[in-house]
Amino acid sequence: MPDQPTVDFGRPLVGEPVLHAAAVSMRFGGLTALKDVSFTLADREIIGLIGPNGAGKTTLFNCLTGLYTPTSGSVAMRGIPLPPDPARVTERGVARTFQNIRLFPSMTAEENVLVGRHVRMRQGALSSLLHGPAFRRSEAEAARRAGELLAFVGLTRSSGEPAGNLAYGDQRRLEIARALATDPEVLLLDEPTAGMNAQETAATRQLISAVRALGISVVVIEHDTKFIFGTCDRVVVLVRGEVLVEGTPERVRGDPRVVEAYLGAPPGGAGGGWHG
């Protein structure tokens, strides 16, 4: 790889590399949103992606999932490059949630999860039309899976509710269940605790750890420092489209550049509210 990260990881990778971004750059006209961003996500690892507002975190997610085609650089999943098409990226095992919740509001919670299951089902138009035995088996299997996932995120009771009617925190969790329904190897979470209170944040933290325990690697964009330093194995700090620091939470927390980038002031209050 041309641009292997040069930062010293505080500890070895948890497992095999899964997702690798190599020198990803994204320019919109004259604006450079991402510049030579490289990082590797290992098996069963949780990476925290932090940075001030406008640092390019969501743009990076969009590049990783094929919503944007990077101007240069590449993204590979287990060594094979990902196509610039969100649907096929999802098929390859990368699922995501959105910063502004993007559920299908009029569909029920269960149906939302079933849409996530879409990519793992094989019933075409004719089969959908005829509702034959294979179709019914596949639907029953999908419904069972959706039930499991809703139970996993704690939304069993709301499975028949339209997603748009759910409480805010429930919507965020439903988005995670929907993403998990695609059987991902990598889950990208865009501010999963935004707008949550302390209690809900703690529950989400637990949920993300549980997701890892399922054998899924996670990249999470987050502002909550307690969350980042309590849950993540590694932290990548993105500032103005570039990777500023990468390493263990302890390392990143102590790095003066990080503190400066966030606060524009000498260390002292680190660990407290360096919220954007």
Binding site: A87, R102, F104, M121, G124, A125, H131, N165
Partner: protein, 565 residues
């Protein structure tokens, strides 16, 4: 609501009910209408005679008595029931009052004129307004959810009874006012009044929670309900609607209902606005016209109808896929313009007889009627001694086609594909992020929708015997789209109901032909304002339109405003 208000509103409701009843018994017109009986009762007695209770006055009396009863007897959903009744009284008295005023040449017709007094209309109107005002006060009670259960066979019997009543109602609505036209200038007014009364009655039933209970009942006995519904639809020729004229009207409704179901896949499920959809009906019709042995056809093939129908559907479907292909790049309003252009291209090509397949302004006449075992569908039929009007077989066939379209729609909606369509409608980017191949999925929606229309078109060609480009203009696309939106996007009964209303109205309102589109437009605007989710809303969409949620832009009024004809 505190105690005094409660008493006040009860008093108001009682007063409204009493006034309505009084208005019903008062004379309604100070003169005799010149053009014959209105509505189908003796003229002089009907308007002068205080007790001439028939037609709309019977409806008003029923509403007045019901309002009185529900004002005094507290039942769940009382407020909503009264509101529906009040709205019914207001609409019926306004419609008839207006009609008598216009026809009688001024307000004197419904008040005082030359010694004669006739205050029926104003009094009933005030009664209706009082009922409405009294029930609009305070919070509307919720629609009660009844949980009654009976032994299964009793429930089935009940369902059967309800569906038979529905059949009677459909037959009554279809034939009310009689055949429109010069011979019967009251047809439109009587029909509208009956429609308003039936609508208000349905509204009251819904408010009482009974219709939801019946819906739950039919859900419990789904197979049985569907079977009986199909039988009821097939039994329509044996009711008062079983004449050749009404069977033709019903068959035409069926054509548009089948097409509306197809359009509902594109617009209602996948959320792709199609303003040129009628072209697919046209393509199906022209394909059938060319393959069925019509002398005017240049191809001169004469294939059996089932094969023709399949070919029509396939050809229309292919065109659907072609029209749908821009959806890969074009979204929302821009797609609507693409489809609009396609519809226009089709009409112009057909008008100019490009390719010699459409007959141009001569149309393709002389398409032979369908026949089965040597029996023409347009001939009289005797089944076991019962004579059935000509055209009944067409009706039966279109009922089966519509039933097939319903099955296609229902099966697709509850499938992986249907969920993908709805997901695209809700949030296309999120759907892609969930692994939905949006491009092919959207084209599939266009393809399947167009196939249904093509199938209906093949039937249409044989039924009307002449296929002309004039039947597939932009206004028809708009009407079809209006039918889907009016009925309720994404639901089967919605599409069928919408198509029925929008294609019966022109048939019934012939004497208003100058104002037809105007009335039509006003009615649509009102419905969109007060019931944007449509008459039979999708359970999904009902939630979507819950207060506080942003409502999607409705393009229809804007489109209608541009339709000049």
């Amino acid at each position: 609501m505190n105690a005094t208000e409660l008493v006040n509103s009860t008093a108001l409701r009682v007063a409204g009910g009493l006034l309505t009843i009084t208005g019903t018994y008062l004379p309604w017109a100070t003169f005799v209408l010149n053009d014959g009986p209105y509505p189908a009762k003796a003229t002089l007695e009907f308007f002068r005679e205080p007790f001439g209770l028939a037609g709309y006055r019977a409806h008003l009396l029923a509403f007045g008595v019901a309002a009185l009863v529900f004002a005094l007897v507290a039942v769940p959903g009382q407020g909503r029931i009264l509101r529906a009744l009040g709205a019914g009284v207001v609409t019926v008295s306004v419609l008839n009052g207006l009609w008598i005023t216009v026809d009688g040449g001024g307000l004197g017709a419904i008040t005082v004129s030359d010694e004669d007094v006739a205050f029926g209309a104003p009094v009933a109107l005030v009664g209706g307004v009082l009922i409405l005002a009294a029930s609009a006060r305070g919070r509307a009670s919720d629609v009660p959810a009844w949980q009654w259960r009976f032994p299964p066979w009793w429930e089935r019997l009940l369902l059967l009874g309800v569906l038979v009543l529905l059949l009677v109602l459909v037959s009554a609505v279809l034939t009310s006012g009689g055949q429109g036209g010069a011979a019967n200038v009251y047809a439109g007014a009587v029909f509208l009044s009956f429609l308003a009364a039936a609508g208000a009655g349905m509204g009251a039933l819904h408010a009482s929670g009974l219709s939801s209970w019946v819906a739950a009942l039919s859900e419990r006995h789904r197979g049985f309900g569907i079977g009986v519904l199909l039988l009821c639809a097939l039994a329509l020729p044996f009711t008062g609607a079983g004449t050749e004229y009404w069977m033709t009207v019903a068959a035409n409704i069926g054509v548009y209902a089948a097409a509306a179901i197809g359009l509902n896949i594109v617009v209602g499920l996948a959320g792709l606005l199609d303003l040129g959809y009628i072209a697919f009906l046209g393509i199906g019709a022209f394909v059938a016209a060319n393959l069925s042995g019509a002398a005017a056809s240049r191809i001169g093939l004469d294939l059996p109808f089932p094969l023709v129908m399949v070919i029509s559907a396939v050809v229309a479907g292919l065109f659907g896929a072609v029209v749908g292909s821009p959806t890969l790049r074009v979204r929302g309003d821009y797609l609507a313009i693409v489809t609009l252009a396609f519809g226009e291209i089709f009409v112009r090509s057909a008008q100019n007889d490009i390719g010699g397949l459409t007959g141009g302004s001569n149309a393709i006449p002389g398409i032979p009627p369908l026949s089965l075992f040597g029996h023409g569908f347009d001939e009289k039929l005797v089944i076991g001694g019962v004579r059935v009007a000509p055209g009944v077989l067409y009706y039966v066939l279109i009922v089966l086609i519509v039933a097939g379209a319903m099955l296609v729609f229902a099966n697709l909606k509850n499938s992986r594909l249907g969920r993908a369509w709805i997901a695209i409608r809700e949030d296309e980017d999120a759907a892609r992020a969930m692994g939905v191949r949006t491009g092919s999925t959207k084209i599939l929606a266009f393809l399947i929708g167009a196939m249904l229309a093509g199938m209906a078109g093949a039937f249409y060609a044989h039924k009307t015997a002449t296929v002309s480009y004039e039947s597939f203009r932009f206004i028809e696309s708009v009407t079809l789209l209006a039918a889907v939106i009016l009925g309720g996007m994404g639901t089967i009964p919605g599409a069928v109901l919408g198509a029925s209303i929008l294609f019966v109205l022109p048939e019934k309102l012939r004497e208003f032909s100058d104002y037809r589109l105007l009335l039509f437009g006003i009615a649509l605007i009102l419905i969109m304002r007060f019931r944007p989710q449509g008459l039979v809303p999708d359970t999904h969409r009902r939630a979507e339109r819950a207060p506080g949620r942003e409502e999607p832009t409705v393009v229809l009024p804007a489109v209608l405003a541009k339709v000049g004809r």
